[in-house]
Assembly symmetry: C2
Homo-oligomer: 328 residues x 2
């Protein structure tokens, strides 16, 4: 089985690659080669027993996606994106990467596999940003997509294209709407949602973190470990069972900032919580006000996707996976 990860240098792409290297197989089929692609050089995971190629490039550049799929991977993970805050500030850049990049990928797959009996599974990471306020108390699977950001718009369009190309038999797509991934390891990125992770990661590592919103802000989370699980399940799930509605809201956990802080206190104590500094930011507040708070995601769990059941579990996964069990 040949695997392509577009966006392989990102946090989720890297963790996915590490997991695939450790497993050596996906859905019971041995992996023979893996290509990791991104705008900056991806890092090949240590200890892979199959060939790993790392490539850099500009996804929406003419011919780029043709080259990427030329050796006909069996599974394509499309994780590459300009994140929400940046796509909102840089309109053209966001559309170029998030829309044109995705369009080009789908077109390249369509033409490269033309006539092939088996089409590749294309796993597209969408986002809960496809939903825009006002919301029902819990967003149900049939709720409409009226995004309030350009990022959410681009993801919603990607979903529509993925479903249409799949319906036409040009490829075999599954779109997964990721919750906000928390706790993100590493440095803050430009996502407007970064603070949800920052206020956990930095204090647990002995650093101060800025909280730009109030304690009653509720949001929808899953751990990086859960996100990798979603991707692997999306790569192997029976498309017939999913049916023509190929885009799924992933399960997750609704928590308020206050509940996040309580979970931090349980895991790390008062010294950790004291490292959170409140500094309201109207730009972030305005973006977050248009974001989902809670979901009633029924289809994805019924199809076997699994997430955490408490924020404390999310914090403990971070301490285990990223800090070797040690809190500063």
């Amino acid at each position: 089985m040949k695997i392509l990860i577009i966006g392989g240098a990102g946090m989720v792409g890297r963790k996915l690659a590490e997991r695939l290297a450790a497993d050596g197989q996906l859905g019971g089929t041995a992996i023979s080669q893996m290509t990791m692609y991104d705008v900056v050089a991806p890092t090949a995971p240590a200890g892979a027993k199959f060939a790993v190629k790392t490539l850099t490039g500009d996804l929406p550049a003419p011919g780029e996606t043709d080259k990427l799929v030329a050796d006909k991977p069996d599974v394509i993970f499309h994780l590459a994106a300009i994140v929400s805050g940046e796509a909102e500030l840089e309109f053209d850049k966001g559309y170029r990467i998030n829309l044109v990049g995705t369009q080009n990928l789908l077109e390249s797959v369509r033409h490269t596999y033309d006539g092939a009996v088996k089409k590749p599974r294309v796993v597209f990471t969408s986002s809960i940003a496809v939903f825009g306020a006002p919301f029902p108390e819990k967003i149900y699977d049939e709720f409409h997509h009226t995004p309030l950001t350009s990022y959410g718009t681009q993801k919603a369009i990607g979903e529509l294209l993925l479903a249409d190309y799949t319906r036409k038999g040009m490829l075999d797509g599954i779109g997964i709407r990721l919750p906000t991934i928390c706790v993100r390891p590493g440095k803050p990125n430009k996502a407007a949602s970064g603070f949800f992770s920052n206020i956990c990661r930095e204090p647990l590592a002995g650093q101060e973190a800025v909280l730009p919103v109030s304690d009653d802000v509720m949001h929808w989370h899953a751990s990086p470990r859960a996100a990798v699980g979603f991707l692997m399940h999306a790569a192997t799930i029976d498309g017939e069972k999913v049916g023509p509605r190929r885009n799924l809201t992933m399960p997750g956990l609704a928590a308020t900032i206050g509940e996040q802080i309580e979970a931090l206190r349980k895991v790390g104590g008062e010294k950790v919580v004291k490292r959170i500094r409140r500094e309201p930011d109207p730009f972030i507040q305005k973006i977050v006000a248009g974001w989902p708070r809670n979901f009633d995601a029924k289809r994805a769990p019924a199809l076997g996707f699994k997430a955490e059941s408490s924020f404390e579990e999310i914090v403990r996964i971070h301490v285990e996976d990223e800090l070797g069990g040690k809190i500063a």
Copy 2:
């Protein structure tokens, strides 16, 4: 007030132009000029007291939309589209006109009016084809968009782009999801929904018509006269009242084929009904099975959009507007 009608040679575009010519104004403002554009030559309406320009061209061709909006129209009606049946058979052609054409138009407006205090109202005709089965008994305004045709996919993407460009202040868009327009005058077009009109229009004119689906097929209709009313209302409605959800399901009338035939019988008698020939068509049946049947459209009527209340009214409007009151 300067008006641009893209898709001015189509049935709805022509009727809109005739109505604007007769009124001489739109929303209380005198019309100073009107441009009608299409891939085939539009016909200028008779008796207009303002200048009417007719243009032909290929909407998605590079530079085309720049030329169209160069003189900064105040209202742009974007009605041009490859219809559902044709877009389903010709994948590339459908995406080129329905997606690239719309994208280019929005980009041209964005750049041409850059810095202008007043942005143009862009009225985009979307479609109930943005919805895909399975449906609730009546499709509510918040139901999600999971189209089962490429045409519906392209319209759903157009809606998303229109809302995002509007949200960013680049233009002032209103998208209207038209019911199936019935009774369409003139010759059948390639729309898969054509038979809904054919079985009324042809028998009323003394001709035989083919019915490819069964009597219990229910669908959602509005007359051409109502469609023109929707467009004019969409051109003048206060955007603040509409809010960020710029795409609206228009009101309409749910009727089964059986109810259509009953209405025909009332208006034209048994001789008219006898001209309908049943000839099941699996290709049409499959497309129609994925289409909406009935709606609970609340927002649009609350915002002042009006449709017919019986299919008999729809038939009588056709006899009045198209047949000079005479039934063959």
